[in-house]
Symmetry: C2
Subunit: 180 residues, 2 copies
DNA sequence: CTGTAATTTCAGAATATTCTGAAATATAAG
DNA sequence: CTTATATTTCAGAATATTCTGAAATTACAG
């Protein structure tokens, strides 16, 4: 993918911007976008040249992407350069990102809430309102993580079916639906 | 909530850090945390004093939170100062954040993909692989937004039931489950 | 109106993040 | 081992974001 068309550029730039909102650096997300639309694995030099970024930036960003589990290294015999590729399956890609975000954001928050609620229960001075609020958050996170574990193994088609069920459940059984 | 205990501080600081990963500034997220654990609505001066941040920062951050729909203004008769509060319901809070993120991140991406795929179809030069990849992304986003619309109105208890169904579906019907 | 309190705006300071390029290190063929 | 090439490290530059404080604006009681 040495020559980028305007469509390639558009996609890569947008993906780069979006990546920053998902905790991935712009360069990292751009590299991911490039690998995603590249038919074959690319080496670091090719990536740096194609995206006009420093070779070292590629190295660091690849490491970042690998820490997310989004990129893996390919060794081609007769080629000393490492090559990199990303998964084709979008659903798997999404799951990998979700797992990473859970690990980095949700899990530490759950720990923090446990610690806070634990302390507040010990102190027993009657900070009732704070305790209520933190326990409500705890319950939410418990439900959310439980939910995530129940569903993260579903294939995309199963997930579609589950959405269908939700709509059906809401309509046919007149389950409680929040306004709007 | 003028005097913060160490538990309050711990929660507020953690929430502030997490907020930055969700596209909300540290100050904004800290204000949100403070309002969340405050039994009553607070005015801007109280917030600034409690969190040791500039009065103008409170003003801007409140505006940011209001753009998310996370904070609303309360007018108390006989008090010229605006007071602010946030919703108690965690589930609603989560939904509000999800709506905001969808609006800011998913919707523009869907548009970008439409534009790219549209152009690539017109050009018809045979960039088959890129087209395939972008269409795969499109399909994923279509499923995801459809799913979100189907389920965003569910109450937390319905959602719990849905998770139960998912587990049941996976086990009892031996639906396809991806490895790991 | 007038005066005072409240709020907002905004330019620049402070901070945080990302990126570069040169130097150091690692890898492997000969 | 030696030499070529490939990769990583890292200090500081470049960039982006957030925050502050003073000035401008708004709101409203008297």
């Amino acid at each position: 993918m040495p020559e980028l068309t305007s469509i390639h550029k558009k996609f890569i730039h947008h993906w780069g911007e979006m990546g920053t909102r998902w905790g991935i650096s712009r360069s990292g997300a751009q590299i991911h976008a490039l690998l995603y639309i590249s038919p074959g694995a690319l080496n670091a030099e090719e990536i740096a040249a194609t995206l006009s970024i420093a070779r070292s930036n590629v190295s660091n960003s690849i490491k970042e992407l690998q820490s997310w589990g989004l990129v893996k290294t390919i060794h081609v015999i007769g080629d000393r350069k490492d090559r990199f590729e990303t998964m084709e399956d979008v659903w798997e890609m999404f799951r990998v990102v979700m797992d990473g975000r859970k690990r980095r954001e949700v899990d530490p928050t759950v720990i923090m809430l446990e610690e806070c609620v634990g302390e507040i229960r010990k102190s027993a001075d009657g900070d009732r309102y704070t305790r209520e609020r933190l326990e409500a958050l705890q319950e939410f996170f418990a439900t959310a993580t439980d939910w995530y574990e129940q569903t993260r193994g579903l294939s995309i088609s199963s997930f579609r079916k589950l959405a269908g069920m939700a709509g059906w459940v809401m309509k046919a059984l007149k389950f409680d639906r929040k306004k709007a």
